[in-house]
Amino acid sequence: MSRAHLNSGRAKIGDFREMSRANILSILDSIHGNKVLVWDECLTGPVGLVAEYSVLKEHGVSRMFSMSATGLPSVRVDSIVYIIRPNVENCDIIAANIRSEERRGGSGLKMDYHIIFLPKKSLFCEKRLKESGVYGSLTIYELPIYLYPLDTDLLSMELPDSFKELTLEGDPTCIQYAAKALMQLQMVCGIIPRIYGKGAAADRLFRLMLRMKQEMVGFESNIKPQIDSLVLIDRSIDLLSTLPTQLTYEGLIDELFGISQASVKVPADRFGGQQQQQAGDVPQPTAPSSTEMRQVPLNSSEELYQDIRWLNFNAVGPSLSRKARSISAQFQERHEAKTVREMKEFVEKLPSMQAAKQSLGTHTTIAEMVKDKITAEGLMDTLEVEQEILSYVNSDRYLDSVEDLACKDYPLTKLLRIISMQSLVSSGLKPKVLDMYKKLVLQAYGYEHLLTLQNLEKAGFITPHNGQKTFGTLRKRLNLISDIVDEQNPTDIAYVHSVYAPLSVRLVQQLEKPGWRNIRDILDILPGTSFEDTQQIPTHLKNISRPDDQPKVVLVMFVGGCTMAEIAALRFLSQQEDKNVEYLIGTTSIITGSNLLQSLQTDLQPPVF
């Protein structure tokens, strides 16, 4: 997406991206000569959002590779530049690479080695490099990029393991990164006057931000604040919202195919009619094999996608049909055009109409693929079980369903989602039920998963009963479960899961009206502290007030991850005309229930003779 597009919202995300881009390019420029970039795989996507390969080429990058322990392909360049996250495994690979190059005698050309640590170097990495004896051959840089823009209203830190690190390992690094990210953002978008938050991690983040602010004393920002308030949400206060199957179009694509860095890879063979027209006499290539994938970008610069991404999936079909009719009607206009001027107008509109048509074709295909996958994976049955659990129907029928699923080799992660949902809704499982589930999971999937269950308990997903009725209270007071939801024309955020309104988004919604002071008692049931505070804005900026008809901009920052469904719900609220608020979303990463639980699973192999 271009900078212009990213800047089209109220907060200048495009400028923020430019800042990060300038950082990378300045480092590359300071390394002279021809370069080869060697990437830590998890970084190619995120950094690609900030600086595309074409731009890197302009700054002297001739080729790019992924890091591998088996060594680099032989190249003749002036410098080899590694871009990595600061962990010890990466350093070991680099040390091995360098030593094997030196042993091989190199390619005759003296090559310089550089490491760019993203976002900052670590003491232990340097120590490791020193221990391996390669530290002297390296030049070290830091690339402080903490936040990546995924869309005009969406920023992600691309740290998929942050929840695991916070809850299982007690490692607060992602909170530090988040604090830096928010400070960086404020440098571009102005200081955010009001800060609210809920949850232990949110609290720590807030304190860290305050301390960083103190250290920056004397630095006066001259930018008018573009964001009015900041809400920090700790994932741990609302684990339940990650678990039910997401039913928005974008949410389903993420659940079924996996969206990374705002694009999705899908099998290419269904897109037959979409292939570029080949030159006239070249024979059509044979149909692509079923394993060939096509990358489809998913962002708001595509108008059609912007309209359907947040819809409940049942409303997508009718919406696409309407769009198809409107496009056909537009194409018909060429018959209406009589005068030359009308013709000219028509021709000018043609490119955008063709783009719309192609967009329609792509998404019709994707929607079909989603539908097929839903049927193939039996999602409708599990949806039924989920909705029963959420509706708090105190029946034991779903115990039997879970048992059947386990015996049928149902994927473990999905089964754990259902069990976790049950545990969270009833504030923990009664001892007998918990025992039964534990035995069931271990007997069906292997005893090694004992560790997984331990982890889930530690993270708070499947816990013993603690005697409270948290969910019941929350449900009533915040109206989390709706029986009647209009999926075609929703009026409430509950449509994202067809019966359940995500708790986290409800809390954000309540912040505007009636305000958190009025729901203090609800906030107190949830774990962790809640707080609100004000940051001082320099006086010369204070008096420029926002015109009343312009909506407020609220940045919601999730620590630990958020789902596409929650994002859709916030976007839905932004579109409501009577609400007068626009939401910006920041998160440590975008998660689905499955990949969240998977990060908590341990991979042990059963013994083989």
């Binding site: 003491l123 720590r204 035995k439 004992l450 341990t602 003779f609």
Partner: protein
């Protein structure tokens, strides 16, 4: 200490400004070497002036400064400075924090700043430089620092030390988890059994999950001799035996169905030992028997004679689910018809039979409901002269049925 400067006590007697100059110059050099450059500037200008009074005064200040340097040379920087240096990548030295209080203050400062590198580096320094009991008392009151250290040790595979540390910190539950992980991470099956047994009696005694570990030991013990014997069968998925109880049940039911319970190979012994529920046992066995086309076994597992000679589902079996499983395993229509008879509600049976394409059962239900119209419709939907069509046709033309419509 080699860089101590020793002055001869000559000031009182010597009037030689030159000697004084030389000494002052030397001292200035040494002080510059200590890292303070300002003095050098003032001394070098002073030295030129050759005024003995000024030079003497200068020498006195310089001496005093040197003495104070000796005193503070080995004193540490304020804690905040050191932590900031770690965070900013500047050089730092942790060794100067000698006293317990200084170490604790440094660690607390790092904990407040929240930088992982600093916390870990300082914790490691404290571990190196204190005796074990003192070290424990420092970190047991600082759980975050302990977390960092534990994680660090786990990444470096210092498992035994980590387990001891966890015990010392009173984190028994987690110690059990780490020990379990270490026991099951690698090794052949007998190795694991040994380690798990040891674990069961040591770290996991009294642990809430200890009975699950016991079950795992039981499974592995039962399966271990079998693995050896079964590995000769190249076409069987022997690894299933050790992956989970249900998989093991499936394997045994496939190849050793009906073995008496006193034999290790017996599926029913496995069911008993692990107290599998009826549902789980049925699933495992039916699927296994279906995979080797042993339909009679499936039938006898699922249904029995009901009242008045009819067919009834055994126990709490979900017969509809099972019918689908059998259908997917391509069982013969006779078996499926029999199983479907056990579906109690006629409408359920009708729907399921239609879905699974068992014409005979559909027809029978429709006849029982005396629904001619539906039956005609169904017959016409079938392929002409197929078995189902013939059967339906035959029934329609039978005279002695009192049709409703």
């Amino acid at each position: 200490t080699s860089d101590d400067v020793v002055f001869e006590d000559t000031l009182a007697t010597s009037g030689s400004t030159r000697a004084l100059e030389a000494r002052v110059k030397e001292v200035a050099k040494q002080i510059a070497a200590e890292g303070k450059e300002q003095e050098q500037a003032s001394l070098s200008t002073q030295v030129e002036s050759r005024d003995p009074m000024k030079l003497e005064a200068e020498l006195k200040t310089v001496r005093r400064k040197l003495e104070s340097f000796h005193v503070t040379k080995y004193q540490p920087d304020p804690a905040v400075t050191t932590v900031q240096n770690i965070m900013l990548g500047k050089p730092f030295c942790l060794e100067r924090y000698k006293s317990l209080k200084k170490k604790e203050d440094l660690l607390d400062c790092a904990l407040e700043m929240g930088d992982g590198d600093a916390i870990l580096a300082i914790t490691l320094m404290i571990r190196r430089s204190l005796n074990h009991p003192k070290f424990l008392s420092v970190i047991s009151s600082r759980p975050l620092a302990a977390n960092h250290l534990i994680n660090y040790m786990i990444t470096r595979h210092e498992m035994n030390q980590v387990i001891d540390l966890l015990h010392a910190l009173g984190r028994f539950h987690y110690a059990g988890v780490v020990a379990y992980r270490q026991a099951t991470a690698r090794g052949g099956i007998d190795d694991r059994i040994r380690k798990l047994k040891k674990l069961y009696h040591a770290q996991m005694s009294g642990h809430e999950d200890s009975n699950l570990v016991l079950e795992q030991i039981n499974l592995l013990e039962r399966v271990s001799p079998l693995l050896a014997a079964e590995s000769q069968f190249a076409d069987r998925q022997v690894s299933n035996l050790s992956s989970s109880v249900l998989q093991a049940l499936g394997y045994l039911s496939t190849w050793y169905y009906g073995t008496p319970e006193n034999n290790l190979y017996s599926p029913s012994a496995l069911i008993k030992m692990h107290k599998l529920t009826r549902t789980q046992a049925n699933w495992g066995m039916v699927r296994a028997r279906a995979s080797v086309l042993a339909w009679k076994d499936c039938e006898s597992l699922l249904v029995g004679k009901g009242w008045m000679g009819g067919v009834k589902a055994k126990g709490e079996v979900d017969i509809m689910e099972m019918a689908t499983v059998l259908h997917d395993a391509k069982c013969p229509p006779e078996t499926l018809s029999l199983i479907l008879q056990a579906v109690e509600s006629p409408s359920d049976r009708l729907d399921l039979a239609k879905k699974l394409g068992v014409a005979k059962v559909v027809v029978d239900v429709m006849v029982a409901q005396k629904d001619r119209v539906a039956l005609l419709g169904y017959r016409d939907s079938l392929t002409r002269s197929s078995e189902g069509w013939v059967y339906a046709d035959h029934v329609i033309n039978k005279a002695n049925v009192k049709w409703k419509n």
